[in-house]
């Protein structure tokens, strides 16, 4: 079954459903290179499924981030990253372990 799986179409459906579930206004589409994008008021996030030398992973790239694309081995991590990038409130809930500022 997995060989015939239409990842492009299924990814769009998953991300569209996720936006509704998260109550985030946004639009799922494709960019010029055919990669899936999630466009929200805050940012545009590119989500790609990368197959590289027998290894497969997800890459999440928020347009407002200076960091390199974030790789995730599974849908679970990919969804969490998209949600954090799309939802300012969700990012605020993230647990930060490490030195804290003085404020």
């Amino acid at each position: 079954m997995s060989k015939n799986f239409d990842w492009g179409q299924r990814l769009e459906a998953i991300l569209t459903g996720a936006l509704t579930t998260w109550r985030i206004d946004g639009r799922v589409g494709r960019n010029v290179s055919g990669k899936c994008t999630v466009e929200t008021e805050r940012t545009t996030i590119t989500v790609a499924r990368i197959t590289d030398d027998g290894d497969t992973y997800w890459e999440v790239t928020p347009s407002d981030s200076d960091l390199p694309p974030l790789p995730f081995s599974g849908i679970q991590g990919m969804l969490r990253a998209v949600r954090e990038a799309a939802d300012a409130d969700e990012t605020g809930k993230r647990l930060v372990i490490g030195p804290q500022g003085d404020d």
Partner: protein, 338 residues
């Protein structure tokens, strides 16, 4: 005279577990059961481990909204079959409502339908309340408050999990005349719940009497059998493809993380790649998911996975898209390893 009891309680509060345990008890031998489920795919009749012959499934809508007439017809048919000796001579009927049911119109139909008068007497209302999610459910869902308020017996379930003591106080305030009981994994003697005398509306608090009075003036209206108002919808998924166990685990983790309290109830019978002959029963209530339970075998010829999601404003198709994608991802990983 056949006594009729109503077993109600919010989604996932333990009605089916309670009923399943009760039906193993010798005192329940002469009991017929009517199970009403919300949505088009029913599972509770499978999950109640008892003989099929005295269990009737009503899953073409919720009793409180659309199929009150069906209930009366079902009861009349059942009583006729009993009188003709076509089914065992039951002395009691237990009606398990949907988790979203308002028990008031059901009670009203049972107490006032002239065709049933003389054949049945309404014994009372047993309401299950989940000790874990009960307080939040009472806050969010007026149906749950009504279910508790009208109860003669409230059974606090899942008390083997950490229990909020203030829930007991709140239930006593909502239903001051109800007897408050507890049941761990549905374990309670039938005589503590049933055959406690005819249901007496005059002994109920004023708000319950007002609801019953108001119900006399309601109207019938057409409904989508999968919708219950306030954005609450049942989504059913039937899958031929077996699911990898790890994919099911990941799927449930994602639901718990992303759906929160908007996933009111999830239940299912799942065919796993690792165990195609023994289906897994999965249950979830809001973001609490229980470990799968394995059935000895499939309950019938149909060996497809069936999952039902009752949600508040969540996209139903998303569950299927997500589960199939996770399953494909896991299958690909297996293929790469082999």
């Amino acid at each position: 005279m056949v006594t009729v009891s109503i077993l109600t309680g919010f989604l996932g509060s333990g009605k089916t577990t309670l009923l399943s345990r009760l039906l193993r008890h010798a005192d329940m031998a002469k009991t017929a059961v009517i199970i009403n489920e919300f949505g088009t795919v029913g599972l509770d009749h499978i999950l109640v481990e008892a003989s099929d012959e005295n269990i009737i499934e009503l899953n073409n809508g919720c009793l409180c909204c659309t199929i009150r007439g069906d209930l009366v017809l079902t009861l009349l048919d059942l009583l006729g079959q009993r009188d003709r000796g076509e089914v065992m001579a039951f002395e009691r009927i237990v009606i398990e409502t949907t988790g979203l049911a308002d028990p008031v119109p059901i009670l009203q139909a049972l107490m006032t339908d002239t065709a049933l008068a003389g054949d049945i007497e309404v014994d009372g209302v047993v309401t299950t309340v989940d000790a874990v999610t009960g307080a939040a459910t009472l806050d969010r869902h007026p149906e749950a408050v009504k279910q508790a308020a009208i109860a003669d017996r409230i059974v606090l379930t899942k008390t083997d999990m950490p229990e909020a003591e203030d829930l007991r106080a709140r239930l006593s305030a909502v239903s001051p005349v109800a007897c408050l009981l507890t049941a761990i994994k549905g374990d309670i003697a039938p005589n503590r719940l049933f055959d406690n005398g005819v249901f007496d509306p005059s002994a109920k608090p004023a708000n319950v009497q007002a609801w019953l009075d108001a119900e006399r003036h309601t109207h019938d209206h057409a409904h989508d059998v999968n919708r219950h108002g306030d954005g609450i919808t049942a989504h059913a998924m039937v899958l031929e493809t077996p699911i990898h166990a790890i994919a099911l685990t990941l799927f449930l983790e994602i639901l718990a993380e992303h759906c929160g309290a908007d996933l009111l109830r999830m239940k299912g019978l799942v065919k796993l790649v690792e165990s195609t002959d023994r289906p897994a029963v999965v249950h979830g209530v809001q973001n609490v998911f229980h470990p799968p339970v394995w059935l000895e075998c499939w309950p019938g010829e149909d060996r497809n996975s069936k999952l039902v999601f009752i949600t508040k404003d969540l996209p139903g198709q998303w569950f299927e898209d997500l589960l199939l994608a996770i399953n494909a991802e896991v299958a690909e990983a297996h293929e790469r390893q082999n």
